[in-house]
């Protein structure tokens, strides 16, 4: 049984590589214990074939190995290329060196210089095997020994300026690749940082907006409280006293409302309460109707529903808040001159449901207030008392998983909110 111990391989892509292959051929032959003249024969055969590969196939590859045959030991070089092959190979091999030209010269010489020579050539490439007898006992050359040769070559100083350049080139290429990978990583990280930054800046803006709104809604009643209490401290009687008392009470009530709104916001953000359920629009809406029953009665509101999408997987507390806020807004901002009709429709969509909430209330001039509509603590009528965070909350909840809110409104006609709810 033949056993092969690979030594090393080299790529042959230019003249300097051919020289290197020759040099390695010499060295391996020497390491194997082959005589100097036979070393030269082997190395010359190797370089002839390598030069052919370079010349006729642009590039090739050489594999050095030690072959254990049952009866002898051989040093082997296999040179492969992916050229177009040699057409008249059989012809060439029959000739004498002095009769051939071109590629044939090298092959014929190499054959003569080798102990064993094989060549196969197809249109997809040529493979040449050159073998030289090793005149030592097979047991003396094993895997370990061969590894030692290669290790020795790695330890030896560069055999030529070219080889050194080549080693450096490989190192540079590795380094370039590493840098490229690093730069890719950095680019990705930068993108990630940019996204996070945008998110942070967005939430910072929202926080800022929110803080302003809170400070406005706290500080205005606080001013009233301060002035009216100072006045009432000094004035027990007088025509203005009841007015001041009423204002003081209202201020306290408004502060209380604002604080409750803040608590509600904190509650909404409480992860424990964000339970996802399969929710029936009909039942969640009837809960909101229940809560607002008295106001519905007082307003004489007519409510029409059509839940074509009957359910959605959603955070229950969000949908409860949404329905409650929309309904109470419609009731609050109704037009006293006209009957209030509220229509609630749902339609199935690929990602969840579309919810349309339409009323015949006072309506709003969106050109004036669009920018502030979904901001916290904005009330759009000084006649009505409201906690002013409803739409702010609703928008935040719907958008938190990619949903959208759209509003259309005409003063004196009514308002329509359209939500694209994305199922969880």
């Amino acid at each position: 049984m033949e056993k092969k111990i690979p030594i090393m391989s080299l790529e042959i892509s230019n003249e300097m590589d051919v020289m290197l292959a020759h040099r390695r051929g010499m060295q391996f032959a020497k390491f194997s214990g082959i005589s100097l003249s036979e070393q030269t024969r082997f190395a010359t055969a190797v370089s002839e074939i390598c030069r052919n590969s370079l010349e006729y196939a642009v590039k090739g590859e050489i594999f050095f190995a030690v072959v254990h045959n049952p009866d002898r030991l051989l040093l082997e070089a296999v040179i492969q290329d992916k050229g177009k092959g040699i057409k008249d190979l059989a012809e060439i091999l029959k000739r004498k060196p002095e009769q051939v030209k071109g590629r044939g010269v090298g092959i014929v010489y190499a054959q003569k210089l080798s102990d064993i020579f094989h060549i196969t050539s197809k249109v997809s490439g040529t493979t040449v095997t050159i073998q030289k007898n090793i005149p030592v006992a097979p047991a003396l050359i094993n895997n370990l020994i061969v590894k030692g040769w290669v290790a020795h070559l790695q330890k030896e100083p560069a055999i030529s300026a070219y080889e050194e350049l080549k080693i450096r080139n490989v190192q540079l290429m590795e380094l370039t690749e590493e840098l490229r990978q690093n730069s890719l990583l950095v680019t990705n990280q930068m993108d990630e940082i940019k996204t996070l930054n945008a998110q942070l800046s967005d939430s910072n803006d929202r926080m800022k907006e929110f803080t302003y709104a809170i400070s406005h809604d706290l500080k205005t009643p606080l001013t009233s409280l301060k002035i009216s209490s100072a006045f009432l401290e000094e004035n027990i009687d007088g025509p203005e006293v009841p007015v001041y008392k009423a204002i003081l009470q209202r201020s306290v009530y408004r502060l209380d409302k604002t604080i409750h709104s803040l608590i509600e916001i904190l509650d909404m953000q409480n992860k424990d309460k964000q339970v996802i359920r399969n929710i029936y629009f009909a039942s969640i809406f009837s809960e909101a109707v229940e809560e607002n029953q008295q106001n519905i009665k007082d307003a004489g509101a007519i409510i029409k529903t059509r839940f074509e999408a009957s359910t959605i997987d959603y955070i229950e507390i969000y949908l409860q808040s949404l329905m409650h806020n929309l309904l109470s807004n419609s009731l609050k901002y109704r037009d006293p001159q006209r009957p209030l009709i509220i229509e609630v429709d749902t339609l199935p969509t690929s990602r969840g449901a579309k919810l349309i909430f339409k009323d015949t209330g006072m309506g709003m001039d969106l050109n004036l207030i669009r920018n502030r509509l979904f901001q916290p603590f904005n009330r759009f009528s000084s006649l009505q008392e409201g906690k002013g965070i409803g739409l702010y909350l609703v928008k935040g909840m719907v958008e938190s998983n990619g949903g959208t809110v759209k509003v259309e409104s005409t003063p004196g006609e009514g308002t329509t909110f359209t939500f694209h709810l994305i199922r969880y």
Binding site: L218, K219, P221, T223, L225
Partner: protein, 122 residues
């Protein structure tokens, strides 16, 4: 005491606060007028011809900084002083940007308001 009879226009969207400020200013000797939510602002300015306008920034139907800019850029009204009264934390910068003559953060106390008005009217 010319200063104490100065005409003061108060602009805010909170009707309770408008009542309180105007009543208190009257008590301490000014001549106040109110403008609810910035509505009919320029008509009131024209008719009332105030010496000072106490102006809120965030109103539901108007933006105080716009009103301030409009007054400051109109030659008829260039002598009118503007005092920004707001709960906004950036009140100083906002007042400076819109060319106001002074600012007072909410919650406002009457003695502080009086001092500020006296200062502006000097």
């Amino acid at each position: 005491m010319d200063i104490n009879k100065a005409r003061i226009l108060i602009v805010d969207d909170d009707e309770d606060l408008l009542f309180l400020l105007s009543h208190q200013l009257k008590i301490i000797g000014f001549l106040p007028e109110v403008c609810v939510n910035g509505q009919n602002f320029f008509d009131i300015v024209e008719k009332f011809s105030p010496a000072v306008i106490c102006l809120d920034i965030s109103m539901s139907h108007a933006d105080g900084t716009n009103l301030c800019n409009a007054i400051k850029h109109d030659s008829r009204w260039s002598s009118i002083k503007i005092l920004i009264i707001s709960g906004n934390r950036d009140i100083g910068a906002i007042a400076k940007n819109c060319g106001a003559d002074g600012f007072l953060p909410k919650p406002v106390a009457i003695p502080a308001l009086k001092n500020k008005l006296d200062e502006i009217l000097q």
